[in-house]
Subunit: 356 residues, 4 copies
Amino acid sequence: MSSSYGENIKINIFGQSHSPAIGVTVEGIPGGKVIDMDRLSEFMRRRAPGQNEYSTPRKEKDIPDFISGIVGNTTCGVPLTALIYNTDTRSKDYSELKIKPRPGHADYTAEVRYNGAQDFAGGGHFSGRLTAPLCIAGGIVKQLLEAEGIEVRARIYSIAGVRDQGDFTETLDKKPFPTVSDAQGELMRQRIAEARADGDSVGGIVECIVDHIPAGLGDPMFGGMENRISSIVFGIPAVKGIEFGIGFEAAELTGSQNNDPFDIENGRVVTVGNNAGGIAGGITNGMPIVFRVAFKPTPSIGKEQQTVDLTKMEKTVLRVHGRHDPCIVPRAVPCVEAAAAIAVYDALLGYKKGLD
Amino acid sequence: MSSSYGENIKINIFGQSHSPAIGVTVEGIPGGKVIDMDRLSEFMRRRAPGQNEYSTPRKEKDIPDFISGIVGNTTCGVPLTALIYNTDTRSKDYSELKIKPRPGHADYTAEVRYNGAQDFAGGGHFSGRLTAPLCIAGGIVKQLLEAEGIEVRARIYSIAGVRDQGDFTETLDKKPFPTVSDAQGELMRQRIAEARADGDSVGGIVECIVDHIPAGLGDPMFGGMENRISSIVFGIPAVKGIEFGIGFEAAELTGSQNNDPFDIENGRVVTVGNNAGGIAGGITNGMPIVFRVAFKPTPSIGKEQQTVDLTKMEKTVLRVHGRHDPCIVPRAVPCVEAAAAIAVYDALLGYKKGLD
Amino acid sequence: MSSSYGENIKINIFGQSHSPAIGVTVEGIPGGKVIDMDRLSEFMRRRAPGQNEYSTPRKEKDIPDFISGIVGNTTCGVPLTALIYNTDTRSKDYSELKIKPRPGHADYTAEVRYNGAQDFAGGGHFSGRLTAPLCIAGGIVKQLLEAEGIEVRARIYSIAGVRDQGDFTETLDKKPFPTVSDAQGELMRQRIAEARADGDSVGGIVECIVDHIPAGLGDPMFGGMENRISSIVFGIPAVKGIEFGIGFEAAELTGSQNNDPFDIENGRVVTVGNNAGGIAGGITNGMPIVFRVAFKPTPSIGKEQQTVDLTKMEKTVLRVHGRHDPCIVPRAVPCVEAAAAIAVYDALLGYKKGLD
Amino acid sequence: MSSSYGENIKINIFGQSHSPAIGVTVEGIPGGKVIDMDRLSEFMRRRAPGQNEYSTPRKEKDIPDFISGIVGNTTCGVPLTALIYNTDTRSKDYSELKIKPRPGHADYTAEVRYNGAQDFAGGGHFSGRLTAPLCIAGGIVKQLLEAEGIEVRARIYSIAGVRDQGDFTETLDKKPFPTVSDAQGELMRQRIAEARADGDSVGGIVECIVDHIPAGLGDPMFGGMENRISSIVFGIPAVKGIEFGIGFEAAELTGSQNNDPFDIENGRVVTVGNNAGGIAGGITNGMPIVFRVAFKPTPSIGKEQQTVDLTKMEKTVLRVHGRHDPCIVPRAVPCVEAAAAIAVYDALLGYKKGLD
């Protein structure tokens, strides 16, 4: 319908930017799984605001409060619900938005969708803040995948056209600015700083790899891994595109260039190259899943923008106050990992259920 | 699970390339809708093989045989099922594939997924032939959308790196090679002809526009229009990427460049420009939905390719015989329209159901 | 939505009584399962019309025609679709029903539901004939359950108030009139014969047992085995009630009478008695699942009945012609088995999917 | 999967008897609906414990704390989540249950289901306490139905074999012991008091009527109103049977007795009598939906019971301490109303969504 995802595990996200709390319910995690809460907190911290100069000054600790489904640190099999209380809310910042919708935001579309009853404060349910509960679910599931030997890692692939360099062969989760090349990362930071100084914002691309994944996951047609991953990833605000393997570049190649030849390596089937991003016919082939996600620049900018007054139905101008990130890409990296982890774990549960 | 899609209407596709028939069941079409069968046939013909020199020589008429849900030409409200019988099947072409999987195809992944029982003939359920039932459902739904004033049109945006030119403002459904610019279309055809002469294939990009769509369709998060459209579009074989509005290009812009300012036009809210592709927060804003889909080159090529022998677990070579298209992009155009129509109609039914 | 059921396997039933065919698509059966087609035919025969003097004279062979998902007799993992062609249709019998709805039938409700476009011929999608595709799916799944050691068996528990006698400890699938006590069965047949002679019909109760089922199947709340079984069983036309274990009788007992004490038998946990019908908290406890299903008398009767003329909006009378069973309970027995088998197999797949 | 229900609105219940909180998320309520919080509190009070001498002495106020989806008293369209904090928990009462499962409870089945990690305290997710969030969702939806003119009312139909008398034509929601006949109600209370004095418990039947409901709601087969209602009602703990209209009694009648003749009343189609309980072919016919639900006696009794020691795998005895109701039927009445309201509203949203 909207805020739920999955068939073998189901996540259900609720809350608005300025409601008392935001949260997530996860159904389908088997009983008896031990969650490492310290590692979950570390994961949450990668997404939390206020970590560095590039993110919103809004202060939120983003510590999950588990209210069901866990006894101590062990899952008990029934729906797991965790909340994050909203503490640093300043709703007065947003009073104007019902009349003058912000360009690039969901103010106008949500107002139409919800019969004029949208909760505008902080963007309501459409706020990037709602990726925090996604990261709770994803952070837990990442641990479950790691217990199966599967690693999900993401990086900043580009910001404002500046591309990362080097092979992305291991996790960058300890880096506050997760690029392989620190030099390229420094260039990206400069672009962000420039945008911020200019009252503007920049976009970028996140790349994600799911490594050591078995062959045979996913289903044909609408149950393929691309379908599953894209349908959760577009749930992250500001995502406008996704591509698997070499993606759009494949459209310019010939079949002989694009096909990944098969080979045998250490007694197992592999492909030479991975243009397919580890997926054929929607199903994993045992090579790493690779995909990239395009994030538009943060729509909240300090510059004056043209909008309309919905009461007078006439053109007007707006200057967005409130707090926001000049570039959300660094904080989006764990969100993409979370989304990928959930999609992959859901498929993995499906893969294991056959009575064979 | 796999071969079904939708929440307010549900489509369920079945069949293999060489099974007695392929087909689709559609649930949720209201009773009393009159289907124009001639227009449906025209739509099906745009996808059918054997139309021109660029498509597989396999001869299939692709005429839907309705076995339920329709009385005369009028829907009766219950599940609508239509079949297409497979007539021109030559299964002997495919006997080698269980041992030597074709690079770029689902032979290997399906064999793992289905415990060694995959139906290899013609690619089984993974064949592009399964887009025919998608087009039955989509062709019907397109008519239902048109009755609501909504138009879905797609074009060839590029093939082998050659881009179409000109504004895509009206349907090209009468053109056998649907580009705005015939000159660019001619260049694309040359690239296809060259690839075919070389025993190779080429990929391309399809662009789709959903025009005259009301504001307010879609849901937040995982129910957004991008999620809904991408999760059906990746069900078309060979799709490796999707982007909405300016998509990946947005990642290189600033917020002030990318945000679409609001304006009033003829008493209704519009945006100046449409970088967002008609969607904000997952919900339509009343501007046309615009998206592009990357298709990889047809994996079936005449050239010798490296693969493995799964019985001996060693490297070997393969030359794919059988019949195939040197470029599937022209035939993919109606498939993308079909997928978009289904996703949009599904959201539209959801939009109408509120008790307001 | 309507005609589909299941989360781990999904069945999707389509067709009308007089459409060219009726059928079912089953998704989620693992690849490589061998179906015994003779046994499936035997199962189908138990439901087929025209077997004896108590069923409709309509002649239909009810032989499934598999059009996808099976290669030879082996499932290939993708959606399995089977059709039954309608051959002995006489649509003229039903022309009056759009104006004068038959009491006890869905003529009126379907006409309202489908905007006046309901397919009246033979009851359309609401016909008991649609239990044939249910039995295709159920007959296959019963075989899959038997391979897991689980037996599903049903019997006539009562007809027209005459109750069967004796313990129901083994399958009665070879009996054309499946009661434990042949003497009681004979009494029931007399009641049916009397009703038929009188142009009337009678109802009855079917009891179903799922034996040798493991403990731990099902989920809490809305995913319990009672929920799962009831939500498919009410899909069989004419069902008006269901109870598990001792069911309604439990409402008259005390807790100390009704609770099943635990015991150990051959090293495994059992209960003394099975008032609970093998289910506690929605989850199987390892004892047989036991439930009973109430079928109303066939609404089609030869007697003149009061109805309304929907064009004139006034009272009138109707005499139903057409062909029908004076008691559908004997033929409902395999339908209940089919429904139970599907519900249980669906839960069993869910049970096996945990990554433990 | 388990703790979620619905297709047009979705409810998702979480929490354990002794977890920090229990709660519910409801998706699909349109934006702009005003909730009367006083009436919701009244509704919740009908289910709350500690109201009279027949219910558990556990003290819980059961006041919903809304954390999302509502601004003031008005829904904003996005997922609505409400919590009830568990305050009066005494987990020491339950320490023995992991070893000695209580007869009639889900202790044993949940332990198997959740790999030995079940949360035993107070019955965990299987506790009757989880009907409180069901009543939050149902209490809200009841108000939405009333705005459409639809009334949902339930009564105690029988307890311990003592049946209520009189026509159930209007709501009894002001009565603490909702029977039509106060005299019969008094008899029922005596049975409860006797059972309690004896350290025992009694069961009963709840009858529910959905009045002033339009014709045409529901879908065929597995989407019928009986399927929809039963699949939520069995989510209430202790339910072992359900019947619609005259239900099991219909199995003993002839067709001419059971069929409800049509008639015209005030220009609208009605039936003479309502044996069908307002449903034909799964779809409402405009007459009131009527159904009855059998509740087993509370499994928690004060008497010593036979159980097993799961560590020693031998027979033993158990005396259940803790707090419990000698009869849960009075408190189940609003729960059945809640379940029915949710099922009906879900179908009503589906009914309104057709584009006709």
